[in-house]
Symmetry: C2
Subunit: 211 residues, 2 copies
């Protein structure tokens, strides 16, 4: 792991979750060892890209032996911070917030949902997956009492900057932003913007080029 | 546009929606012309990558003049098929299906929602954005009567393959799959799998490396 100090480009980082998913699938099928060539064929990337990507983190492979699937899976999980037990809250208990709260994959990946917040009085006290929806008035107190690492922003773009700034000031480390606007706040909080329509446009491209 | 016949790599294609979004923002701010250098600074990529990417489609820029924002925006929209008036249906009227139905950006990008389907009798007849939720029994008839280009799969992974195969057989051209399983069906239908947890894992990486 000697190369870990080196700055890794975000393009490489963004490919890690995909490696992690594929390795998880291999494990499920009891495949314990895989060559970069075989992995590359399954994933539809070049073997050289796989080797280059993994070399950013120190390698993991052995010439002529390939990769140990379980070791690589765990190492990538570790690099991604999936064993750190990060705690999340969801801001917005509308359809999207509820859909994300019910997303079983997140818990499986090690993210614990600790609270759900909304401003609508009608929703306060309702439960989603045994978690009570709390009023935004309680947010500051809650974040101060619990260690909250990540806040999911599942609210409309009106007002999202203000909420994001508030969360950053409270010491939340990451914002996962579904509000369809790029956040521009004064903080070094990490922000991951989700642009669902990018994926729809990619599909649209494929249909268009084929027909 | 002479290079359009050339096979363009999916890595380039996946960057087009992002160009499209940024150019849209520039237009909103009445910026009519931009150099690849300026665009690259805003987008956080290299100017050379922008030039290379756009050259895959024939260029659009003029040496020393830069890009016409409106022209480039429209051309990329055209390449992505956003002016083709694609019709979509949503399979699954749970929280995720409803969240996607209410996503205003999709209509803005030219995708028309024509129908929502579910199997739960409790939901049939309910409306989401003035669109009645129909029973899956009506799916075949509906798809045959209306031209349906894209089906959004917002259902659990159990049973999704069967539904996907049925939609492909009905002639639907693209499947936008939120069911957290990779679809493996016999068809040349285009499939775009959404892996929300990839984005969460990327955020987790950033937090982990910083702390």
């Amino acid at each position: 792991m000697g190369n870990r100090d080196k700055k890794v480009s975000m393009a490489v980082v963004r490919r890690l979750p995909r490696y992690y998913r594929y390795l998880g699938e291999l494990l499920k099928h009891d495949i314990t060892r895989i060559s970069s060539k075989e992995l590359s064929q399954r994933m539809g990337v070049t073997a050289s890209q796989i080797r280059q990507d993994l070399n950013c983190f120190g390698g993991f492979g052995q010439q002529g032996y390939g990769y140990s699937v379980e070791y690589l899976y765990k190492e990538i999980g570790n690099i991604l911070g999936l064993y750190n037990g990060y705690t999340t809250i969801i801001i917005g208990a509308g359809n999207l917030g509820r859909a994300l709260a019910n997303h079983s994959n997140f818990e499986k990946r090690g993210f614990k949902l600790a609270g759900i917040f909304d401003i609508s009085d009608d929703l306060i006290g309702e439960e989603v997956r045994n978690i009570e929806i709390m009023h935004m008035d309680k947010l500051d107190e809650f974040v101060k009492l619990h260690r909250v690492d990540i806040a999911v922003l599942a609210i409309p773009k009106q007002g999202v900057s203000e909420v994001a700034q508030r969360l950053a000031n409270l010491g939340v480390k990451g914002l996962w932003n579904f509000s369809y606007t790029d956040l521009n706040i004064e903080s070094d909080v990490n922000i991951e913007n989700v642009h669902l329509s990018d994926s729809l446009m990619t599909l649209s491209y494929q249909i268009t080029q084929k027909n």
